[in-house]
Amino acid sequence: MQYSSQAVAKPYFVAAIGLFVGQIIFGLIMGLQYVIGDFLFPAIPFNVARMVHTNLLIVWLLFGFMGAAYYLVPEESETELWSPKLAIVLFWVFLAAGVLTVIGYLAVPYATLAKLTGNDLLETMGREFLEQPLPTKLGIVVVALAFLFNITMTVLKGRKTVISSVLLLGLWGLAIFFLFAFYNPVNVVLDKMFWWYVVHLWVEGVWELILGAMLAFVLIKITGVDREVIEKWLYVIITLTLVTGLLGTGHHYFWIGTPEYWQWIGSVFSALEPIPFFALTVFAFNMVNRRRREHPNKAATLWALGTGVMSFLGAGVWGFLHTLAPVNYYTHGSQITAAHGHMAFYGAYVMVNLTMISYAMPLLRGRQANSEKSQVLEMWSFWLMTVSMVFITLFLTAAGILQIWLQRIASDPQPFMVVQDQVALFYWMREWSGVIFLAGLLAYLASFFVGGKPAEARAS
């Protein structure tokens, strides 16, 4: 660790991992509710488990991004963080807001929570992924703005690099697009259109810039390849991301009441969306092939390569699978969407956060890399989580194909719940894969507590 203020990243990473564990536990609860409908009912109804599962995902990824920014920006800018104290205060505010929100979801019925938190003053609740009560949403805006102020001031007073600029662009975009969470038109078509401004333009727009910057930073550190080479790749990747991703929003506008031309725009541009992920994968492998040093942190290298591959598969391949309008006519809102969502989020954003944590945590704990023993366990966790996520995706895809056929293609279409019963076998297999994923996550946690002599660098 080159700058003492980088240490503020550590609590962010710890909180991120803690919330990640919570997300997976609620995922398993919900997965079981798919096949045992009364499981934990009425204590944790399905809609609440789902809300906690998805909200925890978003919050822990945001914790990860903020921790990454606090670690990365001082090193890129070659200066201490503008205000480490502000970063610590924001950490506790954000954590308290997140925990109180989850307690609110679990403790009172959602409608009561809406009444208690002033939703009638400005109606923002009740929309998927944006279920947070108004005070939480306002808290997110305050935390985001103060965080951006801190990071931007750090960049402004120090060296300006492509990586920190791309990261800032992504983070500012993240904050700006979140403002659409406060716009809730009565017209349901407009409501959905602007809802996607947050959801799509986050994950298929500005978050990809954050991902690219984080991956580029780690690759510079672990491969020793010239910054100029990596920055050129980064320019290409973010250009491809913005060219394809912005108008790619159109693939969410099929069949929701928007004009038909969105079927062409959405199909064409989102068919191109795998290209930046393709470039990201070739970039990661190419940098590792051209490495000038053998960095002792093998686990971080594995996570970095895994991010490229899994994001290409999850976001690229599984996204393309149902993005063309004529195909989406059948697949819309089926388990195919769930399959894509799981692998894309894991491959792109979970893995890039774990890449960063894997690289930075040993340095934050005063060593270049963890011991060989610790890294072996971490690599086991990589394979357990990644392979089980591949199976989760495949089982959901299998369930989706059958669901589409039985519900939408067969000459005698069956009702939704009848079909759900018929694909239960795949939900069971998905659940068992989820258990293995949890085992992988626990192995990941355990790797932090394995001692031994830190691994050392050797010449290439």
């Binding site: 070739v282 190419n286 391949v317 056929w405």
Partner: protein, 131 residues
């Protein structure tokens, strides 16, 4: 492998083209990109470059396998199971996604190796280097 030099620029250029054509054959121009590979293979000046020859040989044979396994097996499943059977489509779609993605990923690794001026052998379907 010592005959491959990362500074073999003409060889590297053709190796990158070969891997790109392999990927294009899988992704955007099936058939046409394969014809491009064949045309490249027929050029003696290209085959004379060790790195280009290695990548060309790998991508040509991997493309033949890909065609046979993606086209042939998928068609076989549909012909045997029937075009109106749910289970035929279930098997074909899952098989195609998994196998096609695997072939594309191998091509991406091959492309990154070619860019770095290094040889690459496709797992399982790639031919061994001639003695």
């Amino acid at each position: 492998m010592s005959s491959f030099s990362p500074h073999d620029d003409p060889g590297r250029r053709f190796a990158v083209i070969a891997e790109s054509l392999y990927l294009a054959n899988l992704l955007i121009a099936p058939g046409f990109a394969f014809l491009g590979l064949l045309w490249l293979w027929r050029r003696a000046d290209v085959r004379a470059l060790p790195l280009a020859r290695q990548h060309l040989r790998q991508t040509l044979i991997a493309s033949l396998w890909a065609g046979a396994m993606l086209g042939g097996l998928s068609a076989g499943i549909l012909l045997i199971g029937g075009f109106t059977s749910m289970w035929s489509w279930f098997a074909v779609i899952l098989y195609f996604i998994v196998f096609h993605s695997t072939l594309v990923l191998c091509g991406m690794v091959g492309l990154s190796r070619a860019i770095s001026g290094q040889p690459y052998r496709f797992p399982l379907i790639g031919p061994g280097d001639p003695a």
